[in-house]
Symmetry: C2
Subunit: 360 residues, 2 copies
């Protein structure tokens, strides 16, 4: 494949290995892996998961549920606070497939139950520390109200509690990730015992590092299929497990500043950033080879992004080895966002794979 423009490359072997590890681990705990498809948003990549026993999926919007329902998935969980304005689409979907919604407050339950025409499953969202949405685990008054409202509705079937422990993204090693997981688990187990309802969780750091999920009915990670530089920094993965890289044409090399300008900007990578050695980074640099790409180049990172430009801070050696017209690879800080920006993928053999963004 001849690359001339910013192009998102996927290494199927690495991604399948990531999926297999997670599926095996869930299986060992007698827990169901219901992977989050918001990371890849691709009907072709979605098919890979079937080879590892996956039959139910998680998404983050009604639109994404519609896309994957059309691709043949018939058991879909929308792990985003129920958007009651989309009740018509929800009814259409629930009429065709097994649909599970997430409720983070009583108002949405009240509004939705008035307008539902088809049966849906429901999970109640518990905020175990991400401070984004959901009931606190000790808000029994709120949880009781939610359960009562759901039970009053003939069309909503409560199937459990769900928590996305987004606080795990602040962890930086396995010990800290395990501490987040243990705290989340103990919070959810209180509810599991009190209400006799299953519990589920979903963040990639916990699902990657923790080895046993026996108390959980299901796990819903997404990012693990691709991983990225942020997940490597957190401690969820090694660099050689990262399954996507943005190929970018080199358009300028500055031997005074040791900076390389590539065609690969915020519209390609997204502006998600991280801090490494006190410097802002938008990604690590790799070189492509016959097998895919190599390890990140020591001392190199994307230091700034504009709409179409990426500026790479490089070492003298790397600068001397790169010239205008070459291609450099960038391992993204946040692969879900990069995939969403790009809207399609090429595998290492040059086959194109679609993304929800390229389907409308």
């Amino acid at each position: 494949m001849k690359i001339t423009r910013p192009t998102l490359i996927i290494d199927e072997v690495k991604c399948r290995a990531n999926i297999e590890v997670m599926a095996q681990k869930a299986n060992n705990s007698n827990t169901e892996l219901i992977p989050h498809f918001k990371t890849h948003q691709s009907k072709e990549i979605g098919e890979w998961f079937k080879d590892y026993g996956v039959s139910k999926i998680t998404v983050s919007s009604v639109k994404m549920a519609e896309y994957f329902a059309e691709a043949g998935w018939n058991d879909i969980y929308i792990a985003f606070p129920c958007n009651v304005l989309e009740v018509e689409s929800i009814n259409r979907l629930a009429d065709k497939i097994s649909l599970t919604l997430l409720f983070s407050n009583v108002v949405a339950i009240e509004l939705l139950s008035d307008q539902l025409t088809s049966k849906v499953n429901a999970r109640i969202e518990i905020d175990t520390g991400s401070d984004r949405s959901g009931f606190k685990n000790n808000n029994f008054e709120g949880i009781d109200s939610a359960i009562n409202l759901i039970n009053e509705s003939e069309l909503i079937n409560l199937i459990g509690f769900y928590s996305h422990a987004g606080q795990s993204y602040k962890a930086r090693n396995a010990k800290e990730i395990n501490a987040v997981f243990d705290d989340m688990k103990s919070q959810l187990l209180v509810l599991n015992k009190k209400y006799e309802l299953p519990i589920s969780c979903g963040d990639t750091p916990c699902c990657s590092v923790v080895t046993h999920f026996d108390e959980f009915e299901s796990i819903h990670p997404g990012n693990f299929a691709f991983y990225d530089v942020m997940q490597a920094q957190i401690g969820s993965c090694r660099f050689d497990q990262i399954g996507i890289a943005l190929a970018t044409p080199v358009v300028d090399v500055n031997h005074v500043t040791n900076e390389i300008v590539v065609h690969g900007g915020g519209v390609h990578l997204s502006k998600d950033e991280m801090i490494e050695s006190k410097e802002v980074s938008y990604g690590k640099i790799v070189k492509f080879n016959k097998e895919g790409w190599g390890d990140p180049l020591e001392g190199c990172h994307v230091k700034s992004l504009s709409q179409e430009h990426g500026v790479v801070k490089a070492t003298v050696e790397v600068c001397n080895s790169v010239k205008v017209g070459d291609i450099l690879g960038i391992l993204p800080v946040h692969s879900c966002m990069t995939a969403d920006c790009m809207g399609y993928y090429y595998d290492l053999s040059g086959n194109i794979m679609s993304h929800l963004k390229s389907s409308y």
Copy 2:
């Protein structure tokens, strides 16, 4: 129009007023407005500019040039360091339309001139302080080499110098913006006199605040058509000149923390951020009304974004006035990036307008 999902709304009246002001100002200076279409990337919105005398346009990639060439524009300037890997596309385009390329180094000129089959125009990029790409204005050796290489090529016609004074984005008022402009102008005038070649520039802060461009052959701003919260902070515009807003469904309201969760995340707004009153902000909050939307709500901003969630920090009053199922508007920090994320627009009458992203 019934909004149920994150939807990008454009106020045509505000955008046309922004375009008219810029066109009038360029006209007063006998300078040509060659607007940058990377902001809207829309063939329909592109048509509006023709009503203000625009016949040439600026873009930031060969792909964007192809899109607008197909839409009928026949004089296009790619204001991005020439990507020699795209020579085949460049030749195809240059065969059909008047194409101008930007050269930021001699290597690209050498490589391209070997493979060119059609005539192109060229500008030489001067780095007047943005520290991204281009020749420093006192790098006469480099500039001389570039000019000689261009003059040796039968197919490349040198038409001037170009500088994007991206350093103006660090300014915070008209005085600071004018200082950036004056410095850029004096740097470019050295070259203008030495080489007897026209000069051009393009950043929106300078083009918005400065009143006279008599020394410049052309100006190439893009963002000014929409403006955004960042431009308001810099001092380029007023809030009531911002021409796009992201409509987002409210999915949770937390009266303990005074936070509102909306369906509108990094995949909709982009992760471009700014600091205001020492807090990170991803946008200002507005309410929609019959005429469009009102002024930003005091004391409210988007404090965090995940892939699909936006968390709005609000006042008690605003929190009490908003409920699950409502729609809130977000004025973006960076409108070009938000438009690129969304991939299409609706005007206030509900007509859809396309974007390059939705065309492939």
